[in-house]
Structure formats: C-alpha cells, structure tokens
Amino acid sequence: MNYVFQFGDVFAAWPLLVKGTLSTIELSMLAMLIGLMVAIGCAWGKTAGPRPLRWFINAYIELIRNTPFLVQLFFFFFALPALGLRWSAHTAALTAMVVNLGAYATEIIRAGIESIPKGQIEAGLALNLKRRKIFQYVILKPALRTVYPALTSQFILLMLSSSVVSAISADDLTSVAANLQSQTFRSFEIYIVVAVIYLVLALSFSALFRVIYRLALHYPDRR
C-alpha cells in the first residue's frame, strides 16, 4: 500500500462540512418532529379509528415498510412533480423522510398503546377525565415511555438514512461530501471524515434522547 493520505483539502473545506452537518441535523430533527406527529395520529387511528381508516393506515405502513427509502425518495422527487406538484429537492427529501418515519413509528407507538392495561383507561374514565386528556396522559405518555428505546433508535436510523437524500442532491452532509470529492478527488479521505461526523451525530442524538427522557418522560420513584 503506497497511498499518501491527504486530509488537507478536506479540512480546508470545514465551513462547508459544518454547513452540511447543520442541514443534516435540521432535516433529521424536522423529520423526527413531524414524523412523530404523523405516527401518533396514525397510531390513534389504528387503535381507535373506524375500519376504513384502519385499513388505509395499514396499507400505508405495509407499503412504506416493504419498499426501500431510496425508491420512496425517487417517487417523491421524480414522480409527484410529473403529476404537476412543483417542489424543491429539500422539500421532497423532508417529505420522504416524514412519510418513511411515520410508518415505522406508527407501528412502534401502536405497540406501546396496546401495552396499556384496560384498567388504567377505565381508571381515567372513573376520574371523569375527558377523552382527549385520557389519550394524552393515560394512554400516550406511558405508551411513549414504554417504547422510548425503540422509537429513539428508529430516529437515529432515520438520521443515518438521511444520507440517501444526497441521491437527489438535497442539501445535506453527504451531498457536501459528494461535491467536495468531485472538486478535490480525495474521495476516501472525505468519506472517512464524513463517516466520523455521522458517528458523532449518532452518539450525540442518543445522548440528547437520554436527556429528553429524563426531562419529559421520567417518573419520580415511588419510594
């Protein structure tokens, strides 16, 4: 092996890498937030909605979970504009991520909701809580608590798979890397650095999720 590693060009482009990292963070966080909303809505629909709605949500989940994210992305970016919808690569990428995460997170949250004992809901009714309050405090919050580890690892998987949006040249870290490598030809060095950034992002997100758990979902101990 007589290859000379040259990281100079990569590090010289640090402002671009920072910008790419920030847009990956922004894209992922937006997709997580909106995707979580979609998933909570669908999980509610799947456990309590009318039959046609349930059927529709099931079809959505199965369709998304059994096709690759890249194909979903192409569908949103190439196919929908052919129907007359005009949108940027960035919006198409965000939409694809939300739709993808929504399907996985729905299944996770539904599992959480189904784990809530019936007695707990009846206790809520007995306390004369409104239906919305029961869903919010008696069903959803404990359900999210139960499935929190699965949900957050799905979030991190989404952040990692957001690198795929570079295939439609949406702004993100991997697109920055692809542009850099076509200018400098230091492909291997660039992708090593970017892979390390993703690793740091993944670890930071899981640290962040631990903090959120402690702030929002932690119950004080009974003793």
Binding site: E62, L70, F75, A79, A195
Partner: protein
C-alpha cells in the same frame, strides 16, 4: 421517445435477479460474520468483546451509504481493483454482520443462565456447549427477527444503485431517463420490492405471533 411498455417492465424485472443475488450474498456473508460477532460479544473475553462492540458501534452508527462509498473508494487505495459488485457485496456483508451480530447476541443472552451452568457442570467444552446446548435454543428465538432483518437487507441493496450497480432501482432510473414516465416507472420498481419483501414481513410477523403464543402458555 420510448414509452413505458411491457419490454421496459421486463428490463426492470430482469434486474430483480441481481437484487436477489446481492441480497443472498449479503445475507450469507452477514450470517457468517454475524455469528462470529455474536459469539465474540458473548465470549466473556474483554478483548474480543471490545473489538466486536467497536465493530457494531461503527457499522450501526454510520450510514450504509457511507460504508458503501468507503469500500468503493477505499479499495483502490488499498491496491485492489474494484467493481460495484464487489464493493456492494463487501459493504452489505459488513453492515449485516453488525446488525445480525447484535440481534443474535440478544438471542444468545436470552438463554437462561441455568443452561450455561448445566452445560458447564457436564464438563462440555466451549464448542460443544455452544453447538449442542446454547445455539440450538438461541436459533429458535432468532428465527423471527432474522427473517425480519432479511427485509432490511433487500431494501439496503437499493443503495448499490448509487455506485452504479445495475439492480432494480438502477434499472428503474435507466428506464426513467429513457421514457420520462417517473410515476409508472418508480411505481413498478416499488411494486417489485414490495413483492420481494412483503411475504418475508408476513412470515416474520407470523413467527413472532407463534412464539409469543408459545411463551404465553
């Protein structure tokens, strides 16, 4: 200009055999790698555990696409001639080794400690203990999540399209560039993946339900 007709669909469908072949390579290689990882993780040897733990952390903490790029652009650095076949195969094998290794580690650790102790009390050496006592029981627990993971592998092979490997997604792109009918082309591509993945998903869900029922008894 070409329009999307039966022969175009056939072109994409033909490419499904490369998707299936790549998935098989990734699964078989990943199963061998995953077993080694899972056994290292449960070996109790600090060095092995640290190495396999690091391997899992790296491959689960970075995007599969970046792993593909690193193999694709890294192999010439190490002095190998590389083509998309080898790059996609190697990257997918490494990736699925990490994920299967982590799944199977859980299954091995789910075997009650009494089983380990009983095997030890019978003075079974490590290989016999694993081969005759632990792994057959772990295999039963591992079956459903492993089938579920196969779906992830099939979907993961679509990323090989980005480095120019002509599987279903890449053929879809080629046909789309020729016909400019993205709606029907990518629907066809999605449908092919769905037909490949859905039966596996159903099977995995069914096995999971059966296992839950067996455990509830």
């Amino acid at each position: 200009m070409r329009t999307f007709g039966f022969s175009e669909f056939l072109f994409i469908l033909e490419a499904a055999k490369w998707t299936v072949a790549l998935s098989m390579i990734a699964f078989i290689g990943g199963a061998i790698g995953g077993l080694i990882i899972a056994l290292s993780r449960t070996s109790g040897k600090p060095v092995l555990q640290a190495l396999s733990g690091g391997f899992i952390q790296i491959f689960q903490g970075t995007p599969l696409l970046l792993q593909l790029f690193l193999v694709f652009f890294g192999a010439p650095v190490a002095g190998f001639e590389i083509n998309p076949w080898v790059a996609a195969g190697v990257a997918l094998i490494l990736n699925s080794s990490a994920f299967l290794g982590e799944i199977w580690r859980g299954c091995i650790q789910a075997i009650p400690a009494g089983q380990w102790e009983a095997a030890q009390a019978l003075n079974l050496p490590y290989l016999a203990r694993m081969r005759h006592v632990i792994l057959p029981q772990a295999f039963k627990i591992a079956l459903a999540p492993t089938v579920g993971y196969m779906v992830q592998i099939i979907k993961g092979t679509s990323l090989a399209a980005i480095i120019g490997f002509a599987e279903v997604t890449r053929s879809g792109q080629i046909i789309n560039n020729a016909t400019f009918q993205p709606l029907i082309v990518f629907s066809a591509v999605a449908a092919i993946y769905f037909v490949l993945c859905w039966p596996l998903s159903l099977l995995a869900a069914r096995m999971e339900r059966r296992q839950a029922a067996a455990l509830a008894r």
